[in-house]
C-alpha cells in the first residue's frame, strides 16, 4: 500500500514486486493520444498540442503536487501583461445580450462551424440571474455580482481581466480564456460584463 502510494505520487516507472512492468512514459502516453484523434471540421489536431500552462496544470493535478508558488506567480504575472482591455475604454455593453451569451454553450466543437456564434456557457458552471434555476456549481455563484462588489473601476478592470484570461489570477483555474483564446469577441465580453456589472441587470436586482 505504501509502495502503491509512492508510485502514484511520484509516477515511478518501476513498481516493486512487478519487475516486468514498465509504466508508459509521458511521451508514450502523449503519442497514444495523438494517434487516437482525427481532425474533424473546425477541430484540428493542433488542439492536442498543449500550451505551457496546460502542461504544467495537467501535471500538477495528475501528480497531486501543486505548482510551486514562485513559478505560479511568475506565470500569472506573465499572463496578466497579455490582457487586452477595450481600446475605447468602454467596458459595459448590453446585459440582455449578455444573458443570451451566458445561456449559449455552442462554439468551437467539431459539430459547430466557423460561422457558429460562440456562446459563453456561463450557466453551465455559475449561478447568475435568479430566474435561471438550471445552473451549475463548478464556479462560484455570481448572483448579485456587482451589487456585492460595487461598480468601481478596480472591480470592472479585474472582471474584464478574469474573463479575458483567468490564468492571470489563478494559474490552473478551470475557466476558459474567453478573450485570449478567441472564444468571445470584445463586443460579446462587454455584454457579459454588463450582465455582471450593470445595476439594471437581473444579476444585480
Amino acid at each position: 500500500m505504501k509502495k502503491q502510494a509512492l508510485w502514484t505520487a511520484l509516477g515511478l516507472t518501476v513498481v516493486a514486486g512487478c519487475a516486468t512492468y514498465v509504466a508508459p512514459t509521458k511521451e508514450e502516453s502523449t503519442q497514444a493520444i495523438k494517434s487516437s484523434f482525427n481532425a474533424r471540421g473546425i477541430a484540428k489536431l493542433d488542439r492536442l498540442d498543449q500550451t505551457e500552462i496546460q502542461a504544467i496544470c495537467s501535471d500538477a493535478q495528475r501528480t497531486g503536487k501543486e505548482v510551486p508558488k514562485a513559478e505560479r506567480e511568475a506565470l500569472e504575472k506573465k499572463v496578466l501583461a497579455t490582457i487586452r482591455y477595450p481600446a475605447d475604454g468602454k467596458y459595459l455593453g448590453d446585459f440582455k445580450s449578455g444573458e443570451r451569451i451566458a445561456q449559449s454553450g455552442v462554439g468551437m466543437q467539431w459539430s459547430d462551424s466557423d460561422k457558429t456564434v460562440n456562446g459563453g456557457n456561463c450557466y453551465a458552471c455559475h449561478q447568475l440571474a435568479p430566474q435561471e434555476i438550471s445552473h451549475g456549481n463548478i464556479g462560484p455563484t455570481l448572483l448579485g455580482y456587482g451589487k456585492k462588489r460595487g461598480y468601481g473601476e478596480p472591480v470592472v478592470r479585474y472582471t474584464w481581466g478574469k474573463i479575458w484570461n483567468t490564468h492571470a489570477f489563478n494559474l490552473c483555474s478551470q475557466m476558459p480564456r474567453y478573450g485570449d483564446a478567441g472564444i468571445l469577441t470584445e463586443a460579446q465580453i462587454k455584454d457579459v460584463m454588463a450582465l455582471l456589472l450593470d445595476p439594471n441587470s437581473p444579476v444585480n436586482k
Binding site: 508508459p24 477541430a43 495528475r62 434555476i133 478551470q174
Partner: protein, 272 residues
C-alpha cells in the same frame, strides 16, 4: 492483482471526503431525481437489447455464422458476465480490448465482415435506427447486469492501458483548456443541473460512471455506448474527433473500469 487491490483501497479512502462535501442539492435537484425515478421503469433500451439478441443469433457475414462463438475473454460463446470484465488483454489480437473492440474483432474474424464497413458509422444519427453495433453492445451489457465489475490488471498491457488512461484523463488541451478532470475530478459538482461523477476520487461516483453505461439517452432518443460517451465528452471538451476503438478510448475505458471494480453492472441505464 496486488496493484489492483491497492487501487481499490486508495479509492475507498476518498469515501470520507465524499461524505464531508455532501452534494449541494436544492429543491431543483430533488425534482430532477424525481423525474429520473419516474423514467426508471420502461427503459426503451429494452427495445434495443431485444434487437441485439436477435442479431447475436443471426448467421451473418461472408462466413455465414452467428456471434454465438465469439470469445469475450471468458471462453468462446460465454457472454454472461463478459462485459463486466472488460477491457482485458487478448492474446490472439495481442492487445487490450474493450467490449466494442472485441465485438468488431469477432464480426471481422469470426463472421468475415469488412472492418472498414463495420466501423464506418458506429453511432446512429438523429432519426436513424440504432446501428447493429449499438444493438449488439446493448445486448452484451445486458448479459452482465448485476455482475460485479472485475476489470483485470494482471497483464502488463492491461496496466499500461490503465496508466495511459489516467494520463489522458488529466490532460488539458484545446481552446477551452479542458481535461476529463475539469468536469469529473471534484465531488459534488454539477454542470447546469446534471451531477458530474468524480471519476478519479470518489468510489461511488466512479462506480456509477462505469456501471450505468451504455445508456438510453432521452435527450437523443437513442441508446449510447461507452465509446460514444467518450467521443461526445471530447467533442464538448473542444478536442478533435476521438476515433472509434482508438488506443485512448480503450485506455480511458480501462481507467474507468478498474476504478469501478467491485461495483455491480446496471446497464443499459436511462439518462437525460
Amino acid at each position: 492483482m496486488k496493484m489492483h487491490r491497492g487501487r481499490i483501497a486508495a479509492a475507498a479512502l476518498f469515501l470520507g471526503c465524499a461524505a464531508a462535501s455532501a452534494y449541494a442539492q436544492g429543491s431543483a435537484t430533488d425534482e430532477i431525481a424525481r423525474y429520473r425515478a419516474m423514467l426508471a421503469d420502461g427503459n426503451p433500451a429494452e427495445l434495443v437489447v431485444a434487437r441485439g439478441e436477435e442479431l447475436w443469433k443471426t448467421r451473418r457475414g461472408a462466413k455465414n455464422v452467428s456471434l454465438e462463438q465469439c470469445d469475450f475473454g471468458l471462453g468462446a460463446g460465454v457472454l454472461k458476465g463478459a462485459y463486466a470484465q472488460m477491457p482485458r488483454y487478448f492474446a490472439d489480437a495481442d492487445q487490450v480490448m474493450d467490449f466494442e473492440s472485441r465485438l468488431v474483432w469477432c464480426m471481422v474474424n469470426l463472421q468475415g465482415m469488412d472492418r472498414a464497413a463495420v466501423t464506418k458509422n458506429p453511432y446512429s444519427g438523429a432519426g436513424q435506427r440504432q446501428t447493429d453495433l449499438e444493438a449488439l453492445t446493448a445486448y452484451g451489457v445486458e448479459m452482465s447486469r448485476g455482475i460485479p465489475v472485475n476489470v483485470p490488471q494482471s497483464h502488463p498491457k492491461e496496466r499500461a492501458a490503465y496508466d495511459r488512461g489516467r494520463y489522458a484523463f488529466y490532460m488539458r488541451g484545446g481552446p477551452y483548456d479542458f481535461s476529463c478532470a475539469t468536469c469529473h475530478g471534484v465531488t459534488g459538482q454539477r454542470i447546469r443541473l446534471q451531477d458530474l461523477p468524480n471519476i478519479a476520487g470518489n468510489k461511488p461516483d466512479a462506480d456509477r460512471a462505469f456501471t450505468t453505461w451504455p445508456a438510453y439517452r432521452v435527450s437523443q432518443g437513442a441508446l449510447r455506448t461507452m465509446q460514444w460517451r467518450l467521443n461526445d465528452c471530447f467533442r464538448q471538451q473542444r478536442f478533435p474527433d476521438l476515433v472509434f476503438l482508438s488506443p485512448t478510448s480503450v485506455d480511458l475505458i480501462t481507467f474507468l473500469g478498474v476504478n469501478a471494480n467491485g461495483a455491480k453492472m446496471d446497464a443499459p441505464a436511462i439518462k437525460r
